[in-house]
């Protein structure tokens, strides 16, 4: 068994994830400014320090950049970088759990592969 604290993850990580998701879906486009910590803080009633901590994760991941006196902007190429990161994490995030659950249910490898194929073709 593995730790999975996603349901009640630290708030700053959730902030980072939500903004990352918004960049990935182009709600926040590359080169544009993202909402300020104050805006996010007010909207969701989260302490600004928490919001900032979340945003700083995205800065160190290279998805956001600080422009002095202006605020935070989505880095050009952030979309591709996020995709790359998520592809890397796909195995840990999805495959490992899928196999674990399949084993609990005594589903053999061939059945899982078949299911994946079916899902892929139907998707």
């Amino acid at each position: 068994m593995q730790f999975d604290f996603n349901s009640t993850e630290p708030l700053y990580l959730q902030v980072a994830e939500q903004i990352e998701e918004a960049i990935f879906t182009n709600s926040f486009e590359e080169g544009t400014q993202v909402p300020s910590t104050t805006e996010v803080s007010k909207q969701f009633h989260i302490n600004p320090a928490t919001v900032l901590k979340g945003m700083n994760i995205l800065v160190s991941d290279g998805f956001l950049e600080k422009r002095r006196g202006l605020g935070m902007f989505v880095v050009t190429g952030a979309h591709a970088k996020i995709r790359e990161k998520r592809q890397t994490e796909f195995y840990e995030d999805y495959v490992v759990n899928l196999v674990k659950e399949a084993k609990k249910l005594s589903l053999p490898e061939t059945t899982i592969l078949e299911m994946i194929k079916r899902g892929y073709n139907n998707g």
């Binding site: 068994m1 604290f5 007010k42 009633h45 302490n47 928490t50």
Partner: protein
């Protein structure tokens, strides 16, 4: 003004007659930080606020800023505002005159903000204080607390008597005001869920003592629910700081506060998740003797 100094609460104790309400309280209130003071009814939250703001005398210890005791120290008390249930205003005074009076008593008040908030909360500034409903009185005091020019704002149950819309408006206004002019807010509240995301640091007052004084993040990091068949859960949580449990037939949940054993294998049948501040608070303050630190 010069860089702000924290408020230090040094070994403060308080007795009412023979009954001890606070025992050897030690806290530091840093500038520009939002604190949450949690405690059950009668735990002494209001007493602690009243002592820090010099409304009532302490029995032992001292409260200082930059080494100066706050007791009878107008220069320091000018920088501190306490919003509480007590109604200290002349009953026939109008709201706008109360605002003016407050501005004179402290170092000023943001009248433009007060006016905007009064409009948002639909508070008529021409109404006399004794004609205000309980909710409107709370609103008036909140507006003062947000608009008055001080560095430390104590809010004792600020949302008491406010409906959901006004509570939301209050949190909006609080964070807006905090962003524009960072200062310390110390909030005591029963509505833990609503406030928990605002609070940077948590204090829990229980049995005359502060049993938790930590960042919200670190408190939440230490709270776990361990769920599974009773025997497996008990085997896993043996020796951990179990603060509560719930059983549903053979399905057991142990609530833990503190470190898990990293080297202990987690059985396949057991799942572990974090718990929210409200639940953590309930279990921590149900305990007779709290063991908050390992």
């Amino acid at each position: 003004m010069a860089k702000l100094k924290p408020i230090k609460i040094n070994h403060v104790s308080k007795y009412f007659g023979k009954q001890q309400v606070l025992d050897d309280i030690e806290l530091t209130i840093e500038p520009e930080t939002i604190y949450g003071l949690l405690g059950r009814n009668g735990a002494g939250k209001s007493t602690l606020f009243n002592i820090i703001t010099d409304r009532i005398p302490l029995s032992d210890g001292e409260v200082t800023i930059a080494g100066q005791p706050v007791t009878d120290n107008d220069a320091v008390l000018n920088r501190i505002y306490l919003m509480s249930e007590a109604n200290l205003y002349p009953s026939r005074m109008r709201v706008k005159d109360i605002f003016q009076l407050t501005a004179q008593l402290y170092q000023g008040m943001d009248m433009a903000l007060a006016q905007t908030l009064a409009e948002q909360f639909e508070l008529n500034m021409s109404t006399r204080f004794n004609k205000l409903s309980t909710g409107s009185r709370s609103i008036m005091k909140l507006i003062i607390a947000l608009a008055v020019d001080v560095d430390y704002v104590f809010l004792d149950e600020p949302t008491l008597g406010l409906d959901a819309n006004h509570r939301r408006l209050f949190y909006d206004a609080l964070l807006d005001s905090y962003a524009k002019r960072p200062r310390s807010f110390i909030i005591s509240t029963h509505l833990i869920e609503e406030a928990s995301n605002l609070i940077e640091r948590v204090w829990v007052l229980q049995n005359q003592h502060i049993i938790i004084d930590e960042s919200t993040e670190s408190v939440l990091n230490k709270g776990f629910a361990v769920t599974g068949p009773t025997a497996d859960v008990e085997a896993y949580t043996a020796g951990l700081n179990i603060i509560g449990h719930e059983a549903l037939g053979n399905l057991m949940v142990h609530y833990i506060y503190g470190e898990l054993k990293g080297d202990r294998p987690i059985p396949d049948t057991v799942s572990i998740s974090h718990i929210d501040l409200q639940r953590l608070f309930i279990y921590l303050t149900n305990q007779e003797v709290s063991t908050d630190e390992n």
